[in-house]
């Protein structure tokens, strides 16, 4: 199984958004906190619908929240 190829900047974006907690983000996008933990650890590639909901929470386009492969660039933010 191993690490998934879809990475994300959720942890940084949460911090930038008034230090939003994992539980608050989970409640906003309709998943459990454990799923946010798995996403941040890179253990889970979200469905397209969940990815859009997360991006919408941060008011950012999808590609500024998620990346494919080894991308290590920081998100530009708003």
């Amino acid at each position: 199984m191993g690490k998934v190829l879809v990475g994300n900047y959720i942890r940084k974006l949460r911090f930038d958004l008034n230090e939003m907690t994992q539980q608050q983000l989970a409640d906003k996008v309709g998943v459990t906190r454990q799923t946010i933990v798995a996403l941040e650890k890179g253990n889970y590639s979200p469905s397209l619908e969940l990815a859009f909901r997360i991006a919408r929470t941060f008011n950012l386009p999808l590609e500024e929240v998620f990346f494919y492969g080894e991308n290590s660039e920081k998100p530009s933010g708003k």
């Binding site: 199984m1 459990t32 454990q34 799923t35 798995a38 890179g42 253990n43």
Partner: protein, 148 residues
Amino acid sequence: MTYQEKKSIVSLISTLLIFTVYLLYRYPQYPNEVLDSKVTFHYWGSFILVLTLVSIAAHIVISIVFNIIFRMTTGEKEPAFADELDKRIDLLAFRNSFAMFVSGFLLAMGSLVIDQPLKVMFIVLIAAGFLSDVTGSISRLYYYRRGV
């Protein structure tokens, strides 16, 4: 360790405990001396039926007790719903569990083909049910820890 990981471990331990205790209680009651197949079928039928019912009831009770202990120790509430990650892991765990049971079922049928006693067929069938349950719990734990 997350709620789901702890729950998988509790489920695994309770499966092992329930099966072992039940086996130790029921297996000595096997009608060794009786040649009548009707009595033997009755024994195996009740063995599987009671095991299934006891297992379901025990799992429900253990799950409730686990949730109470989880709330008391962590101060957190257990997740109230299954989201897309939970459903995906459930599906993968069910696939593994089902594959294990089907393998055992085929093995049990194979034992009849090679003229093994009926007892062997039932033992293989029950072992397959037990192992499929264990496989499901281990798969859940594995996928929650390693990711999907």
